[in-house]
């Protein structure tokens, strides 16, 4: 080995290889990213500015598809539903996740087993979760029947087939699936809090809830930002869960943008409109994620 490396020509070959191999190794991934991420986004953006219906056309049509989108009542239903779902899903998941993390951080016996139970839904596909909850919330045979059997014959629970309430069933299932994960992120953050600060505050006579409220929770700022980042990402993309649970129904009462995009693009042959909806989703993600990432890096820097 060393004999080979010491001859001059071998050495220059080696240094040439060491210069270029890293670039060569990385280039297929970069090319793929350039074409399949950046190129495809540009393609979709362009498609959204054309007259495309069943087949892509390349006749420029300006913002006509966006105008059609904003005239489409179904689009506004799905945007409103995303607002409802996003707010409740994120709010409840954060509250529940943080609460469980704090409870679990009190030197609990069997912590590992409990944590495993709280987190297992995250291993499931949203389709499985949706299927399970669709059965539990079944208006005839599910929860409603159970409460009837318990002796409350007037209890009704028909959210799954009730236009006004269907989107809330998605919240129920979404929180069940994701709150354990939020718990895990907060628990990791809590484990990083300096115990000395807590002890000092206790010596000063502060009660435990007050210490949490005033000292510990504020110190978890960076974790809050990551959690919000992840959950809003999940919320904006949410597709599988709604498909499995309500398929956007009844009618289109629980449509979300991802379902709107899918159905107009793949079932109704309205490529331009689908592309415009996809671009709106991308812009929503950028609008939500960029400020959060900015705040996250800033608060992480301040924490140091």
């Amino acid at each position: 080995m060393s004999a080979v490396a010491s001859t001059p020509s071998a050495r220059s070959l080696r240094s040439w290889a060491d210069d270029w191999l890293p670039r060569i190794v990385l280039s297929p991934t970069l090319a793929a990213s350039l074409v399949f991420v950046y190129g495809f986004i540009i393609w979709t953006a362009y498609l959204s500015l054309t007259e495309s219906r069943m087949m892509p056309s390349f006749d420029f049509a300006g913002l006509a598809q966006y105008a059609r989108l904003f005239d489409n009542e179904r689009w506004w239903t799905s945007a409103k539903n995303l607002g409802i779902f996003g707010t409740l899903f994120i709010g409840i998941s954060v509250a529940l996740g943080l609460l469980i993390a704090i409870l679990l951080d009190q030197k609990i016996r069997a912590e590992g087993a409990l944590r495993a139970i709280y987190l297992y839904p995250m291993a499931l596909s949203f389709i499985v979760t949706g299927t399970a909850w669709k059965w539990i919330l079944n208006p005839g045979l599910g929860l409603e029947k159970l409460v009837h059997d318990w002796g409350f014959p007037n209890f009704t629970f028909d959210w799954l087939v009730n236009s006004d309430m269907a989107i809330y069933t998605v919240v129920i299932a979404g929180v069940w699936q994701s709150s354990g994960f939020v718990m895990a992120l907060f628990l990791a953050g809590l484990r990083g809090v300096d115990e000395e600060i807590i002890k000092a505050a206790q010596v000063d006579g502060a009660t435990l809830p007050r210490i949490y409220w005033k000292i510990i929770i504020p110190s978890l700022r960076p974790v809050f930002f990551s959690v919000l980042l992840i959950l809003s990402h999940i919320a904006i993309k949410s597709f599988d869960l709604v498909m499995a649970l309500t398929a956007g129904g009844p009618g289109n009462a629980s449509d979300v943008p991802a379902i709107f995009m899918y159905q107009f693009s793949f079932n109704r042959g309205q490529l331009g409109l689908g592309a415009a909806a996809a671009m709106m989703m991308l812009m929503t993600i950028v609008a939500v994620l960029v400020p959060l990432m900015y705040l996250e890096t800033r608060s992480a820097r301040n924490a140091r």
Binding site: S6, S33, F36, V128, I136, L185, I285
Partner: protein
């Protein structure tokens, strides 16, 4: 310790009660799904969600695996389950291996502009995939890969690379630079250092990355339904079609058995390697 245990006894009881209550909240759906899948259909109709089966039967499981109708095809989930296996194994291995090499470059063989390229690559972690669905569907159609497992493998590799690269790059940053430098001084080159020094240290991150990719790809529905809704569809698509088939009498016990079958591989991974699973979730989620 003693004083603590006595002083807080009431508080501790409430604490444990709450924790058990939460555990029940997460476990009840699993219990309902499992018991429903083990009941005959008349019991499903007559009984209620939390009643234990009176006659235990695996009839629904057999139908879900072998006989349930998905559209006009009554062969159960079995062919689709194997579609998913054939899809997930190559997609996970290829994307993980390429990610390892990429991460090695980005952590220890930086060149001018490599950090910017890494940032540009990370964008792939954040985009909503809806924004690439239409062009990708067209491309797969042109190359005859629509409705094939090969097409889906390709898609999962392409869109998994940003994550796998991120995993390995962040892990390899913790490998001391001196280790690489001294090996280079000794005359070892790019691949030799990777094979002899870096790879032997990479066990844990390979496990984390493989588990993450496996879970993501197995559980994917969007790519599956958009690019591969037919005979070669993955199991998540088949499950959704089975559950939402509106013809015939609804067999809820079969639906539930099918849901468990579709969930078993990822649940198994979670039970066997939960520690790594959680690490992957946090690493993949926090994104550097």
């Amino acid at each position: 310790m003693h004083a603590d245990a006595q002083r807080l006894s009431l508080g501790r009881v409430v604490l444990y009660a709450l924790l058990v209550l939460f555990a029940l909240y997460y476990l009840t759906p699993l219990y309902v799904v499992l018991t429903t899948s083990l009941k005959p259909m008349d019991e499903v109709r007559a009984g209620n969600l939390i009643a234990l089966p009176q006659t235990w039967t695996i009839e629904a499981w057999i139908r879900a695996w072998n006989g349930a109708c998905i559209g006009v095809d009554c062969s159960g989930l079995r062919p689709y389950f194997w579609n998913s296996v054939r899809m997930v194994v190559p997609a996970v291995l290829v994307s993980t291996f390429i990610g390892a090499l990429n991460g090695y470059v980005l952590a220890h063989w930086r060149f001018r502009g490599s950090e910017i390229l890494f940032t540009a690559l990370l964008v792939g972690c954040f985009i909503p995939f809806q924004v690439v669905l239409l062009p990708m569907a067209r491309l797969l159609g042109i190359f005859g890969l629509a409705n094939t497992t090969a097409g889906l493998i390709f898609v999962h590799i392409v869109y998994g690379l940003a994550f796998t690269t991120l995993f390995f790059r962040n892990f390899y940053l913790s490998v001391p630079e001196e280790l690489i430098k001294s090996a280079r001084v000794d005359g070892a080159g790019f691949f030799l250092i990777f094979r002899k020094i870096v790879l032997p240290l990479s066990g844990p991150i390979f496990v984390v990355c493989i588990i993450w990719q496996f879970t993501q790809i197995w559980n994917d529905f969007l790519f599956g339904v958009a690019f591969n809704g037919g005979q070669a569809a993955p199991v998540t698509v088949a499950l959704n079609n089975l559950v939402n088939t509106s013809t015939g009498v609804k067999e809820y016990n079969v639906d539930m058995a099918a849901a468990v079958i579709a969930a078993l591989p990822t649940l198994f991974v979670y039970i066997v390697a939960g520690r790594y699973f959680v690490r992957g979730l946090t690493a993949g989620a926090v994104k550097g």
